[in-house]
């Protein structure tokens, strides 16, 4: 006999086409993070060409980064409305157009607009939807998927850096921008792979819905309740909470979201500055240019390996329920590395520092979005990621300039490392403590909820749970319940079909 709960809104596949989506996200995220860094190779030439100062050129990077993070909410709204695929494809197209028009620029201001705004906006439209769609395709294996997708950033950086150099030697900066525009169009390919999935998109799954309803008929369950509930909920939403449908501002009442927001905003103040200043610091203490560049390569390689590995570790059954602790630990570990860096005297110790920094950096990045998904649930993640990125945007932009000011004031790099380390250790500790309280409160709420719903209609409880997981403001506890129940449900479904 067909299983009772098999026909429910199909949970995330956790595999199959999901891995292709992970590959697409790998490419998309890789471009979004690595492309601004890879452009630095062209800056010297452009600076000579336009006769500007270095800081004016550095604005290109800053504008690009600011737009990529600041356009997060817009990205979220578009994904909420249209789904991931069209947004990513449009983003890729926009990036391509931006770079192609940049190759015909005749002033630095035009470069700001073409490379900074247009390409930055396109990359923003790439970044958020890629992360969002992973949450739609994966639940049980989500940390691994996140880790693999985020590994795109160092891999793309390692690919783009020599590629950019090759393009520059052969085509000059204008030709390179033209060809890079074409290369960025591959984001469209990545976007094409993002097949829509999920309960919100009804059109793509009509046959599945049909099947589900039929099976309910057969088994004679509390039949129409789930689907009708869903329709009623949607109508209610349309009438009253239209804005929240586009961008869920009610997240600001969500305890976990607020904890994450504050902790991350604090962390980003000291996150990127050490990377920016690692090579100059190495040169400052007397290491030659190539060895200093090699430090960054070590960082990238360790980063590349650390991200999927962290994903696998975070997915293990010991860590997954406590993933917030793991995240806070990795942030604090990162901070500790920076605090110890000034003690590194000599090239060998700097290599060790770079390796540990790469490890810590990879760990944090791999879990950056996973922890947010864990806290707010997949359905609200779309809006959450937009709100978080625009808040982070400020501190990300402030981090390196503050570090630079510290270096200039004191003439010594160690204060910058101490500041970054201290900020990150503080953020790690803050997240650790707050999440401890959060877990406790959630456990309490879960107990109360379970006590309330201890009635013989176990089937309805299950179906409600699943609906809760899909639609309601997700509590953190239920994340764990559906994990087990989904697993059972999926297994049964497999046997049934």
């Amino acid at each position: 006999p067909p299983p009772a709960d098999a026909g429910q809104a199909p949970g995330p596949p956790d595999g199959g086409w999901g891995w292709v989506v992970v590959f697409g996200a790998f490419v998309s995220i890789g471009f979004a993070y690595a492309f601004p860094k890879g452009l630095a190779i062209f800056y010297k030439e452009i600076q000579d060409f336009f006769g500007t100062s270095y800081s004016e050129i550095a604005w290109i990077s800053s504008i690009m980064l600011a737009t990529t993070y600041g356009a997060g909410p817009i990205s979220s709204i578009l994904v909420n409305r249209y789904g991931s695929r069209p947004v990513v494809m449009f983003g890729g197209l926009l990036c391509g157009i931006g770079m192609v028009s940049a190759s015909f620029c005749t002033s630095i201001l035009q470069l700001y607009i073409c490379v900074g705004f247009i390409t930055g906006f396109g990359l923003a439209l790439n970044l958020q939807p890629s992360v969002i769609i992973i949450g739609k395709y994966f639940l049980k294996r989500r940390p691994i998927a996140n880790g693999l997708a985020m590994a795109g950033s160092p891999v793309m950086l390692c690919t783009l850096a020599p590629l950019n150099q090759f393009l520059f030697d052969n085509f000059g900066w204008r030709g390179s921008f033209l060809i890079l525009g074409a290369i960025l169009l591959h984001c469209c390919v990545a976007g094409a792979l993002f097949r829509p999935i999920g309960p919100a998109i009804v059109a793509g799954k009509t046959q599945a819905t049909g099947r589900k309803d039929v099976l309910k008929e057969v088994t004679g369950n509390a039949t129409n309740a789930p689907t009708e509930n869903k329709m009623e909920e949607e109508e209610g939403k349309d009438c009253c909470e239209k804005i929240n449908q586009y961008l869920d501002f009610s997240l600001f009442k969500h305890r976990g979201f607020l904890i994450y927001l504050i902790g991350n905003v604090l962390m980003f103040l000291g996150f990127f500055a050490p990377i920016v200043f690692l090579a100059p610091y190495a040169k400052h203490i007397g290491i030659d240019e190539y060895s200093a560049a090699f430090l960054l390569s070590i960082l990238a390689i360790v980063d590349m390996i650390a991200r999927p590995t962290t994903g696998i570790i975070a997915n293990s059954k010991w860590v997954r329920p406590r993933i917030q602790y793991f995240f806070s630990f990795s942030i604090a570990f990162n901070g500790a590395c920076h605090l110890l860096c000034p003690l590194a005297s000599g090239y060998k110790w700097l290599v060790v520092y770079s390796a540990f920094f790469g490890l810590a950096f990879g760990m944090v990045c791999a879990m950056l979005f996973e922890t947010l998904m864990d806290l707010v649930g997949a359905s609200r993640f779309t809006s959450a990621v937009g709100l978080v990125t625009i808040a982070e945007c400020c501190t990300i932009l402030l981090g390196p300039p503050i570090g630079g000011t510290l270096i200039d004031t004191f003439g010594d790099y160690k204060y910058m490392f101490i500041k970054c380390g201290a900020v990150m250790v503080l953020a790690g500790i803050f997240l650790f403590i707050m999440n401890y309280y959060n877990y406790r409160i959630l456990a309490k709420e879960e107990k109360e909820r379970k006590a309330k719903e201890e009635d013989p209609q176990s089937v309805r409880t299950e179906s409600e749970d699943r609906n809760n997981w899909n639609k309601e403001p997700a509590l953190d506890g239920p994340e764990l319940e559906p994990l087990r129940e989904e697993g059972e449900g999926l297994k049964k479904e497999m046997k049934g079909t």
């Binding site: 000579d48 060409f49 006769g51 494809m89 192609v100 030697d169 052969n170 085509f171 000059g172 204008r174 030709g175 390179s176 033209l178 060809i179 525009g181 074409a182 290369i183 169009l185 591959h186 469209c188 390919v189 094409a192 792979l193 097949r195 009509t206 046959q207 599945a208 049909g210 099947r211 309803d213 039929v214 099976l215 008929e217 057969v218 079909t497």
Partner: protein
């Protein structure tokens, strides 16, 4: 490598050198007057030598103009005090013999500190010891060859100082070091000076005296037709007297005159240590090797830059190829998706029919009709 390592020490010593460069601030006015006049005469000498060294006939007027400019500039600087009227018969001959040398030293730069450049001979007789000294203006230097303590037992040592094949006779000897004092006033004094110690083994060290090098670019600058190209030359730490740009067309050298053809060439940065050559409205003929020449007191230094002018078609081909590839990939992805959806739909319909069959056998007609209604 000894040369590069010594280059670092050299850099520091050069800083010293610059600090101690001839800037006679003291000294009696009379001395000073004679000093400046003699110095100016020697400058004039060096300028004539430079002029003689030039091959281009068309650039003669430019060089003399530059010379005049240079002299007027120099007059305002602290380094060498020049008067506009420079003409006392030179007291220096081309090759300083010891007496002349002494005389010159006394009369010309008696109040100038001498910069010492030292080399320690540690005696591995295979490896040549070399030191590069960069000079951009007339200085007095002392080159010292010092013998390592472990060789102090060697008694019968014969030391010779040579410049090329010429032997320098006046050598100062101290306990374990031999030095020569040199007055570098013009290009002919630059070169390689070698000290050779002949004992049981022969140990030698070489000092290379040269003008500052210009940092050019090894890789070509790539630009496009109709675009602008900016060629930049820099010297580090030394300010040349003048910059000149040339274009090498085959075997000829054509000077680029910034004052003519102002809509084609724009030259910035006259005598600072950076110069820009901006070439507007590039065409295929502008493709080639460009040279920037920095004129120093003691000679000239050349930097080479290569400019490549490409047509717009060159990057366009890879661009179109990649765009085509992207379009193909996107089409493949969409086609595959449509295909797999059709397959799924077909499989689902089959399954659905089977379930329908099951239901029809199990339940009554009412549920059957509602199921069909739901099937839309």
């Amino acid at each position: 490598m000894p040369v590069s390592f010594s280059g670092k020490r050299l850099g520091r010593l050069l800083l010293l050198l610059l600090c101690f460069s001839p800037s006679p601030s003291g000294g009696s006015p009379a001395d000073a007057a004679m000093t400046t006049q003699d110095v100016s005469q020697s400058q004039a000498n060096s300028m004539t030598k430079m002029q003689a060294g030039l091959n281009e006939s068309s650039s003669e007027p430019i060089t003399t103009t530059r010379a005049v400019n240079w002299q007027t500039q120099r007059s305002s600087s602290d380094h060498l005090r020049l008067e506009h009227n420079a003409s006392n018969p030179a007291l220096l001959g081309p090759d300083p013999t010891p007496q002349e040398f002494k005389q010159a030293t006394n009369e010309n730069m008696s109040n100038v500190t001498v910069v010492k450049h030292e080399v320690l001979l540690s005696g591995v007789s295979g490896t040549p010891v070399e030191k590069t000294i960069t000079l951009d203006r007339a200085t007095r230097i002392e080159l010292l060859c010092k013998l390592d303590a472990k060789y102090s037992h060697l008694k019968s040592l014969q030391v010779t100082w040579k410049k090329g094949n010429e032997t320098i006779r006046h050598i100062n000897k101290t306990e374990n070091s031999w030095s020569v004092h040199l007055q570098i006033l013009d290009n002919s004094k630059l070169g390689s000076y070698t000290c050779t110690l002949k004992g049981e083994e022969e140990i030698s060290a070489t000092f290379h005296l040269q003008v500052p090098k210009i940092q050019g670019r090894e890789k070509p600058i790539v630009s496009y037709e109709g675009d602008t190209a900016v060629l930049i030359c820099k010297t580090f730490g030394y300010t040349p007297i003048a910059w000149t740009w040339y274009m090498a067309n085959g075997s000829d050298q054509i000077t680029i005159n910034g004052s003519l053809l102002t809509d084609k060439y724009v030259i910035n940065g006259g005598s600072a240590n950076v110069t820009h050559l901006k070439i507007l409205k590039l065409t295929k003929e502008d493709d080639g090797v460009y040279q920037c020449e920095a004129a120093f007191e003691l000679g000239k230094s050349v930097g080479k830059l290569k400019l490549e002018v490409l047509s717009l078609m060159v990057p366009l081909k890879p661009f179109l190829a990649i765009v085509a590839e992207v379009v193909v990939l996107v089409t493949i992805v969409f086609l595959y998706e449509m295909y797999s959806k059709k397959k799924d739909k077909y499989a689902n319909e089959k399954e659905f029919d089977q379930v329908e069959q099951l239901k029809f056998e199990e339940s009554n007609g009412l549920e059957n009709s509602s199921a069909r209604h739901r099937k839309i």
